[in-house]
């Protein structure tokens, strides 16, 4: 079975591609970025998902399945281009799947879709509306991409589509939203708040994506690993020093004084938890994670 991965050069894209190979799939990939040292078995096409060259890959290679990971998620990357990649890229992906006979599509999205608020339930289920769109405008394009991808469930019912909402990944690659936040030796927290963070080892996340493919899931599924852990505990376990900063100072200080840059909408994400219920995914696939909460943090901490 031939699987096309968009955004294959990203951290999760690479891991997923390698897992697919291990599981005996034939893998081709599209990305604007190169992947130096990619296995020879993987045929790579350096192209923008929105451009004709990418469409050509669908047309010529006729993959049986496609995994969409070509979304810009770095919050520092706030160009209008980001929005276009995330929305028009997703649209192009879905169109190509439909036009070139792709039977199965997987969209790898984020659990931050649900947003963080003082009064939201601790475990989000898939039917909940996105609350992050208005409190965190920087995430609005990802929320829209998620909803847009989900619309293909009724738009193209003949394509088996799974929309995954995956919790933060963490692991030896040191890539990803949570890893970037934990980069420095001192990690700022908001004084008086300590939200639960839900995370999964990056290998487990890649495995979950392959599992969704293997089980031909059709629908929207939250994906999580071990049970959530308070942010301050993660910071300490990662060998970092937590620094509690009052919320007002925090807003002034981000991006300066050695604090990482964080968009103002993210402050709610440092005050309130985003935790997901992934029972539906587990029931449908019997998926289990391999790395527990401590092993996951240690793999991040000890990586070079």
């Amino acid at each position: 079975m031939k699987v096309l991965v968009t955004g294959i050069s990203g951290m999760l894209g690479r891991l997923t591609a390698l897992k697919l190979l291990q599981h005996g799939y034939e893998v081709i990939g599209i990305d604007r970025r190169p992947w130096a040292g990619a296995p020879e078995a993987i045929e790579l096409f350096q192209a923008d998902i929105r451009k004709r060259t990418a469409e050509d890959v669908f047309r010529t290679h006729r993959p049986d399945a496609a995994i969409h990971m070509a979304t810009v998620t770095h919050l520092v990357h706030q160009s209008p281009d980001r929005m276009r990649v995330n929305l028009y890229g997703t649209r192009a992906f879905i169109h190509h799947c439909n036009n070139y006979g792709v039977k199965q599509a997987v969209f790898a999205g984020r659990h931050t879709f649900y947003g963080a608020a003082a009064d939201s339930p601790l475990y989000h289920t898939e039917d909940e509306p996105p609350m992050s769109a208005h409190t965190f405008p920087e995430l609005a394009d990802l929320v829209a991409a998620d909803l847009y991808a989900a619309s293909s469930l009724w738009r193209y019912p003949e394509i088996t589509t799974s929309v995954l909402r995956i919790v933060y990944t963490l692991g030896p690659s040191k890539h990803g939203t949570l890893a970037s936040f934990l980069r420095g030796p001192t990690v700022p927290l908001i004084m008086g708040f300590d939200p639960l963070f839900h995370f999964i080892h990056e290998d487990d996340a890649a495995e979950a994506i392959v599992t969704a493919l293997a089980h031909k899931l059709h629908g929207i599924f939250n994906v999580s690993g071990p049970s959530p852990v308070p942010l301050s505990t993660i910071v300490r376990a990662a060998g970092r020093r937590p620094l509690a900063v009052p919320a007002t100072l925090f807003k002034l200080g981000v991006g300066r004084l050695g604090l990482p840059y964080i968009p103002s909408g993210a402050i709610d994400h440092l005050k309130y938890p985003i935790v997901v219920d992934s029972d539906a995914f587990r029931r449908a696939t019997r998926y289990t994670y391999a790395y527990d909460e401590r092993e996951t943090i240690n793999s991040f901490r000890t990586a070079h």
């Binding site: 601790l122 289920t125 708040f193 300590d194 959530p228 919320a247 909460e293």
Partner: protein
């Protein structure tokens, strides 16, 4: 979070150990309860519960020692001392101990410190999805259907009941959970509120600021009566018409009114423990 402030009492540590909770490698349960923080906090709180206040608890055996249930009772003045005392009785007197999850007003989670503290001790903003999830996980829920209207009662009205919300009944019906009515007496003496400043409250982001006889919001040492009634079981799906649910809620309200009345009589020494009908 409380490591530097509070010490651990070995007796309390054993009680927390006996709770029916599953902690992960960091000592955190799936709902964010921190074993270490909880132990330290309850160690300090035990002194307040046992010596600063004194709570005469009746009918504790009525509360199931395991499985889902909804504790439903009255607010009796000022701030939710009643909730703290119910917590105390379940954690410090009940055998085996249980940790009730109170459905608290959402404004509490907006405050620094309070949010962190409530999160690590399993106290969530009242949210039906959250409540149903906890009940399905066989947890014990604590609900004050009077809400902030209940704590806003002035001291002279402490034994009265204001309007009950009906959400708790729908949750109980949907999850087939028994309702455990309780009556709490004495809150009006601990914290005799004479006025509530609503406008100041709005400025501070709270429903109101209570003013006591001695101005400050410091409760005086008080003896309370806490009466747990027999479980009440209701049949239904949780999707009944409002009138049907309201009638069930009225039964619970009457039961709580009766428990408060008996508690008041005990307090005034008009009856003794043998006369109680729980």
């Amino acid at each position: 979070m409380l490591d530097n402030l509070l010490t651990i009492d070995p007796e309390i540590a054993a009680r927390i150990e006996a709770l029916d909770l599953e902690f992960n490698k960091f000592g955190i349960d799936p709902y964010g309860i921190d074993k270490n923080d909880l132990t330290r906090f309850v160690s300090a709180f035990a002194w307040i519960y046992r010596y600063y206040f004194k709570v005469d608890v009746y009918g504790l055996d009525n509360v199931p020692s395991q499985g889902r249930a909804v504790l439903v009772g009255n607010h009796s003045g000022g701030v939710a001392i009643d909730a703290a005392m119910v917590m105390g009785s379940m954690l410090l007197d009940a055998e085996p101990p249980r940790l009730p999850h109170a459905m608290i007003d959402k404004f509490i989670h907006q405050f620094p410190g309070a949010s962190k503290f409530m999160s690590r001790t399993g106290q969530f903003s009242g949210n039906p999805d959250q409540a149903i999830r906890l009940l399905r996980a066989e947890r014990l829920l604590l609900v004050f259907p009077e809400g902030a209207r209940g704590t806003a009662k002035l001291a002279r009205d402490a034994d009265s009941l204001v309007g009950f919300g009906t959400g708790f009944m729908r949750l109980a019906l949907e999850t087939k959970s028994p309702i455990m009515p309780f009556g709490f007496v004495g809150g009006g003496d601990a914290l005799p509120t004479i006025a509530n400043l609503k406008r100041l409250g709005r400025l501070l982001g709270v429903p109101y600021v209570p003013i006591t006889k001695w101005i400050l919001l410091v409760p005086k040492p008080t003896r309370f009566q806490l009466l747990y009634g027999k479980p009440m079981y209701f049949e239904g799906t949780g999707h009944e018409r409002d009138e049907v649910v309201a009638a069930m809620v009225d039964q619970v309200k009457e039961r709580i009114r009766d428990l408060i009345r008996q508690g008041r009589q005990l307090r005034e020494k008009e009856i003794s423990e043998e006369d109680l009908e729980l």
